[in-house]
Amino acid sequence: MNALAALGALAYLEWRLAVNRLKVVLHQPGRLVVWGLFALWVLYVTIGRVSRGSYVGTAVFALPHEIAATALALFPALYLALMGFTMARSTLRPPAAFAYPADSRFLCGSALPQQAVAFWLQWREFIGSGQRYIFAIIAMGVGFRGAGASLILIVLTVVVGAGILQMLRLPVFLVAQRYPKARVGLIGGVLLIGGAAALAYPIYAAWPNEGALLKSIPLHAFALPPGSWLVGTALGQWPSMLALFITALALAGLAAVAAGDCYPELWESSVRQYAQRVRLRSRLLGTRAESALPDAGAGLRVRPVELSLARVPAGPWPIFWKDWLALRRSPEASRGAIGFILVAIGIGAVFGFIARGGGTETLIGLGVGLGYAAVALSAQRSVTLAVELRKPMWWLSSVPLPERLATWTLSAALRLTVFVALGVIVAALISGAYAAAGLVLALLPVFFWVGQSVGVAAYSIFPSKGDLRGPGALARMLACYLLFLPPIGIWVVLQFVFGQAVIVSALAACSWAVLEGIGLIWFASTRLAGNGMAFAWAEQR
């Protein structure tokens, strides 16, 4: 089969998947209205940003100039380190390139050349992630100030930058598999160390100049490609754009050329990812998808854990116990947790340095930016209850549904809290802002409790994964903002009008926020009760 006919067949597959997805929405008036409103909002925001050069959210906050300049200066080194890490990791494990379990039957079992399929998988992933980034920056990036031509350039930079990292994985794996002597993993390791050193050196060199740390860092930074090309593209430099375009094309071409015999590894990796997702969602207590895996074929391992059943808590609390077991039993989950801890420490350290070197304006900008990022993160976080709702065990419990749902929500909120709290502690240790950090640490669990409760309530309205990512995410963000207003109001009134102590005001505000969360959980419970399987099915849409 020639490449053109193969791409034609693959285009037919994608086209029909997209058309049918649209048809499903069109046949459900409720979803049609929601998506229609969402589309209008996205259109309004996009046109406003690109043509008028302004947007209602632009006044919310702006990154202080010195932070932006420092971030741009350090970005090439960070990108090089990320590339190195991606390369080193890709030699060990291929990307989970198949998006659907059915791909194993319909793509692997077809007469389509593997090269064409590999090329297609690359672009499918690139386009999919590109859409998400564009949406995140233009539609969800309320606090993002870019507009007009600069916005288009920034979107292009982010999409291509993230796309290159993604597209790097498959060719690197294939080249490492075919040509072991090329030592691609070693090259990745060298790039990682080089990038990390290039990231650390400017901070080290600027350290003695503590009063103007942020201003000094760019003076010592390195402009390393391809990160420097990305910065150039964001600034509208044509040579950088050309270099990036050639890099992206070369990677796609390399994947296609190297993909001679790659299905088994791609399939194994994809199956492992499906199983991991299911397992992490189900907290490891066995699922249909997991039991369907060929023996140990998915490569998932379960670490033996000694159990003391006498310690299993009563009531709804076994949900916590189950999550704890999952973390201990699954090496993948443990590795994931370690990864999150390292990322949290890294981000905390960066923010600590920025807070240490910046003035009041920097600190306020940083605080608002972090708050916005936390709301956005909370709104984008997936809520998948299908695995629980499908289980007879979930419905057999004698504990009332609102209690179980509240415990499930609390568990999810605390998991996020632990990682963010670590970052905050590291930032506090570096910057010395202990009082502010203490306050943030006290507020974090409440913040994520409300965010996760909004997610559960949104799930009971938009159970479909697609809906929850689109209009659901927007509704969650707006709901978060609205729900944070009363506690903030209570705080302000108590502290500044009635002159109460910070602790009293904070406690009153937090209590109100907790009650808001309980109300949302109760609302979700009334919708889910007696109709759980319908939600589980709808989630797959």
Binding site: Y100, D261, E268
Partner: protein, 239 residues
Amino acid sequence: MNASGLAVDNLTRRFGKLVAVDGLSFSAQRGEIVGLLGPNGAGKTTTLLCLAGLLRPNAGSIALDGRKLGPDRARLIALVPETPEVYPMLTVWEHLVFVAKSCRLDGAWEDRAQGLITRLDLLDKRDELGESLSKGMRQKTLIACTVLADSPVVMLDEPMIGLDPKGQRELRGILKDLREQGRTIIMSTHLLESAESMCDRVIIMKAGRALATGPVAELRSRGSRADETLEDIFLELTR
């Protein structure tokens, strides 16, 4: 090595320390239905996945009609997996169209596809999306797609599970038709009665190895009693 049909030699697949398939050798001729039997964890599914090109064996070779197979074996050896995964947002008919396009089938494929979905009782589900199909319907869709793809070797992992009695009867009929057309069929199953009635030969596996291979009558003749059923032989060998 058998020149006509599938020949598997010393197939080995490990997962870390676990040897799922341990030097398995067998052959399946054209126009033959071979049953792969064994207790849970015997390595049946892993064997099928290796043959279908979805798992890379650690050792061994797979040949079809005397030609050693490489990366193209996924096209030549079709598998209907135990978990019938279809595209949730593709209709039954669109699955068949995609198979026709991706396997470059000739112009007569539409009539054959229509015949298959009629036979498998899928006609009224023709325009239903994969996500709304029951497990049995998804199984039937995959069977229709696999038969339509015209692969010389067809493998089915627990094909009867999830099918209604009519579907099971139709599948038996389809497999017999494929056998008459000279296709090689390998079927993994726990339904020993079904294997006894349909398979020309069976391979009883345990711990990744073949414990016994041959026609059921021949296995019976090796046993201690003449009236032994396949179930008796199976339980005796795998205990």
